[in-house]
Point group: C2
Chain length 182, copies 2
């Protein structure tokens, strides 16, 4: 069966000794670590990767139509020339999170103001969400961000607010990679 045209192809992040992204910093925020690497490769050219993470763009799971319209009007695209810092944060949520029904997860997402927090940093912080869970991957989401160096403290602040939210009590594995183009 060939890949369907309507579903974007999976994106692979290879942790390796070479690659198109240099790792400035790799931090285990929670849960088991990943082997430390000097580079991430998304070009498909990495040889002898220590590990590979795969995710794909999918349909919206919590965002409603009004929020989406708001985002589309305000957000910036990835890879602007000034966005010289990129960040990859793979995230896994606990079995307790996934066992909840849709309305229960949505209520926690909303109480934590997840949408509002991300919205506060637009358009400076551009982002992309990839889904991994249904691929049987070790993380549920691969979150990707980029921004100009002068916005790095804003980005740190955004992470602090998200990690303090009720939703993050259900995050049981999180690793942060600060990157620059190699």
């Amino acid at each position: 069966m060939t890949q369907r045209a309507t579903v974007p192809a999976p994106v692979q992040f290879c942790g390796a000794a070479t690659g198109n992204w240099r790792v400035r910093r790799q931090v285990r925020v929670s849960g088991p670590p990943l082997a430390a690497v000097s580079h991430l490769d998304t070009s498909g050219n990495a040889r002898s990767a220590l590990w590979t993470l795969t995710g794909l763009a999918s349909n919206l799971r919590y965002t409603d139509a009004a929020e989406r319209a708001d985002l589309l009007a305000v957000q910036a695209p990835l890879a602007r020339p000034e966005a010289r810092i990129s960040v990859l944060i793979p995230i896994r949520k606990s079995a307790a999170w996934w066992a909840m029904a849709q309305d229960e997860r949505l209520a926690i997402y909303r109480r934590g103001a997840h949408f509002r927090i991300g919205r506060d940093y637009l358009p400076a912080i551009a982002r992309r969400l990839l889904h991994s869970r249904d691929l049987g991957e070790p993380f549920d989401f691969l979150t990707w961000f980029d921004f100009a160096p002068e916005h790095e403290s804003d980005f740190d602040h955004m992470l602090e607010r998200l990690r303090a939210s009720e939703e993050w009590r259900f995050v049981d594995r999180e690793i942060e990679f600060r990157l620059e183009s190699a």
Copy 2:
């Protein structure tokens, strides 16, 4: 990376000349057909399959906590001795469906009374939903049902009601397999 313990392994349905399910009837309801087969195999023993469909159990996408509690109290397990008819219905929804935000899809799901319709046939019709879309499969869902032969007309009635709903305007490929244990 090994499969995570919290995510069930994918289930494969092989269309072949042999297998643990005999196909009583294969009907293209909408969209492109699949090659006609005499058997479906879910045992992993099928050789030279004409096609293979893969799906996996995932988290709830529309069901809320009250609905889930109601289902758990009423529904029957698969594979009761009297449930001698099984049905596999792979379903694909259109790009327009997937482009909608969560609240837009949920509203259509609810207006069509999808939950209510399925609920009306419990516990006679047992069912299981597998997700395929994020696996890059040709269908988005593999729906599986089983029931005693005396409930086949109830099952037909349930399908009629679902297919007449607004939600089904977004179904652009659907194939029905009526099966019995081989």
